[in-house]
Symmetry: C2
Subunit: 297 residues, 2 copies
């Protein structure tokens, strides 16, 4: 059993900051940032991720009143009660038997949300899965290793349980202080550890999915990787033998938006997906954790 | 399909504050608190809910290396990366394909975690579901309506998917500013709204579960309600016609520990449950949300 993607949208901030912004106060250059990360612009939100989520939810045209599940994936939520998923349900006037959950598995949170939804829903039933991240609240703007990487963003999908191909792969590894965030502090990252984990373990994960289904990299019609860093994405594409044109990306525009990166990519490209295409999604990050899905569109 | 409870434990703080503590700085009295809430003592933790969770996990004697799922339910987590469930997995040296999720549905979070686990696990597979709450970080000690109600706590259960009775009921209602917590602020509560919701809707929820299975209140062998307030618990027992002796409680000792209240009750009473007993669990609170389960032990 799998999931059909009915509709996808993104929250619009409409104010993109380019890399020259950081030249004013960091010992860095636009060229260096572009070359090292693949990021050209990012957005910083003026409102909290709860208001971003409410604005996003209003964009959906399909009726949201009959959902069985609403999941908000985020590691940056400041609203603790009611949960953001509950707020969204309240706003949508949703079905009273809808389960509302806020979940956190950092950058793998949205993919994990899809996996939970697929196991929870009965056939023909629907869920709204979204991610809303205001990472700028937790960025040390004086740390040139992290300030240039992240952006705020929110995206979501309305899905329905169907019986198409759905294969998942979850994996966790020792975190070894690779990527940390405690309250009232800033994100700290050991870039080398995260890079090594992503390149090695995400390729292993996607290979497991392909092998189980007798597929090869070249059979993948659409690849949506967590938008962490261009080097990681390029390495994964090369290792897996996936056609680079089939990798949907928006890193250059939004930077790393954690759990929001995958739904943002889906929302921007929803019209490109064709019936029966083989699609791979993979979220990865702090934990260290990854969640990958092979599905038929 | 349902869940078998293999093992349950609680985190020990070992320092109980009685109601006279509040007499020193609030216009209240021990007698008033006891009479209005049923709470005699509570615990306030010196460490964060992440360290509480790690300490709790170490108490389990069954091997935790082969779990498919670890869920931490909490609305008070300050650790954002890695998630607390990931930290726990790291500590346990767990199975690398274990999905680790931190979830928030306030006081209904632990029951929601069980429901997610039951849908995610294959038969014979295991999950570790726990709740860890340090509510004292978010209590306004000058507000006599809320300061006296909450306590810190953590409890968890190791469960295995079986094929016994498992019926669930989820419901959500407009929150109407009844129970709120945003970052850097304190819990605010409209006690009347929460009371009305709990008494009306939790009894409706449990009645739906009983009716679907042709059971009556007197058939319930063990009742574990979220430990919010003695008046709510007594009202629910009376409305449902459940034998008061079958309601397992610890409100008087711990106060309201949000998501942790149900696993704390289970951990303290695990030896009392007998094979084939009909057990009802119900978590309810901010959202407004509730999650109820009817299961056979």
């Amino acid at each position: 059993m799998g999931l059909k993607f009915i509709e996808a949208h993104k929250f619009d901030i409409d104010d993109f900051l380019d890399n020259s912004y950081f030249e004013k106060f960091l010992d860095t250059s636009s060229e260096w940032i572009e070359k090292r990360t693949g990021i050209f612009t990012r957005q910083f939100s003026n409102c909290g991720n709860d208001l971003m989520a409410l604005d996003l939810a209003k964009k959906f045209k399909n009726p949201m009143q009959d959902l069985d599940l609403i999941i908000c994936a985020s590691f940056t939520s400041k609203r603790r009660m009611p949960s953001i998923s509950s707020l969204v349900r309240d706003e949508l006037g949703g079905n009273k038997h809808c389960l509302c959950l806020d979940i956190n598995l950092a950058c793998a949170g949205f993919a994990a949300g899809l996996i939970i939804a697929e196991s929870y829903l009965d056939k023909g039933r629907r869920a709204y899965i979204f991610a809303s991240e205001k990472i700028s609240d937790y960025m040390d703007m004086t740390d040139r290793r992290t300030a240039i990487l992240f952006g705020d963003g929110a995206g979501g999908v309305l899905v329905e349980k169907n019986d198409k191909l759905w294969e998942t792969d979850i994996a966790s590894f020792p975190h070894e202080d690779s990527l940390n965030l405690d309250e009232n502090s800033f994100i700290t990252m050991d870039g080398k550890k995260v890079y090594r984990f992503a390149v090695e373990e995400v390729s292993n994960s996607i290979r497991r999915l392909l092998n189980k289904n007798n597929l090869r990299g070249e059979d993948v019609d659409k690849l949506i990787l967590h938008q962490a860093n261009e080097r990681i994405i390029n390495q994964l594409i090369a290792r897996l033998g996936i056609n680079k044109n089939n990798s949907l990306q928006n890193l250059e525009k939004y930077g790393n938006t954690s759990a929001a990166s995958i739904p943002l990519v889906i929302a921007e490209n929803i019209d490109l997906f064709k019936d029966k295409e083989k699609v791979i999604l993979s979220g990865f990050g702090a934990g260290l954790s990854l969640a990958s899905i092979l599905m038929e569109w």
